[in-house]
């Protein structure tokens, strides 16, 4: 496993856990089961740890650490990320109509959160695409 794969695993695992904790916090808040503060802090801590781990991986040893295949994988992953943002924008545009109805309203202060959501969506799709493309590796001979 190379550095890019290790970094991708760190982000995918931390983002997945943070998302689960975030959804749990939302459910706790929605059903008024108690204060979701602890869950929100836990989600932030997990995500923060993932980002810290991401920056701690050292470059791979050996004369060549990054080649044409790695470059192609990064390029395809970027395309996957932008595709995910596009889908996110479509979903975010139409979901309020379905959830709140045609006469529903959304506070304009919630709009900047779309940017955060799009960024997270792009990052998640990018790193998942990296893991998928590298696959399970191969036999060392």
């Amino acid at each position: 496993m190379n550095r890019e794969q290790k970094r991708a695993w760190a982000i995918v695992i931390s983002m997945s856990l943070a998302t689960i904790l975030g959804v749990a916090a939302f459910v706790v808040h929605l059903l008024e089961l108690g204060s979701p503060t602890l869950l929100v802090f836990a989600a932030a801590a997990v995500q923060g740890t993932g980002v810290l781990v991401f920056f701690r991986f050292q470059p791979d040893k050996g004369p060549i650490a990054f080649d044409e295949r790695d470059k192609q994988i990064q390029k395809n992953a970027s395309l996957a990320g932008f595709g995910a943002v596009y889908l996110f924008i479509i979903l975010a545009s139409f979901a309020p109509i379905g959830i709140l109805g045609e006469k529903g309203s959304v506070p304009v202060t919630s709009m900047p959160f779309l940017l955060v959501g799009a960024g997270l969506c792009q990052a998640y799709a990018f790193f998942v695409a990296i893991l998928v493309q590298y696959g399970r590796g191969g036999k060392d001979e």
Binding site: I64, E68, R69, D70, K139
Partner: protein, 80 residues
């Protein structure tokens, strides 16, 4: 659908050249070991410059190393 596939003889050529390891070949042609593994397994088609560097390492032609498995290479005329 595109059924093009490029097979290769890298594994056999490595063993014919003093049981060269994937890492040794990777170092000689300037890529990572993972890329050599992917090429050998047919999961990645190398760029032309890389294909030439690999062939040159084995003192062979590109077609001795890589074989195109995608038919006769003639695009059918659809204008008729």
């Amino acid at each position: 659908m595109n059924n093009d596939h490029i097979s290769n003889q890298i594994r056999r050529l490595r063993f014919d050249h003093g049981e060269m390891t994937q890492q040794e070949l990777a170092d000689k042609v300037g890529v990572t070991r993972q890329t050599i593994i992917a090429i050998e397994a047919g999961k990645y088609a190398p760029s032309l410059p890389l294909a030439f560097r690999i062939a040159r390492t084995f003192n062979a032609s590109v077609e001795d190393v890589f074989q195109y498995q995608g038919g006769d290479g003639i695009v059918p005329d659809r204008s008729a």
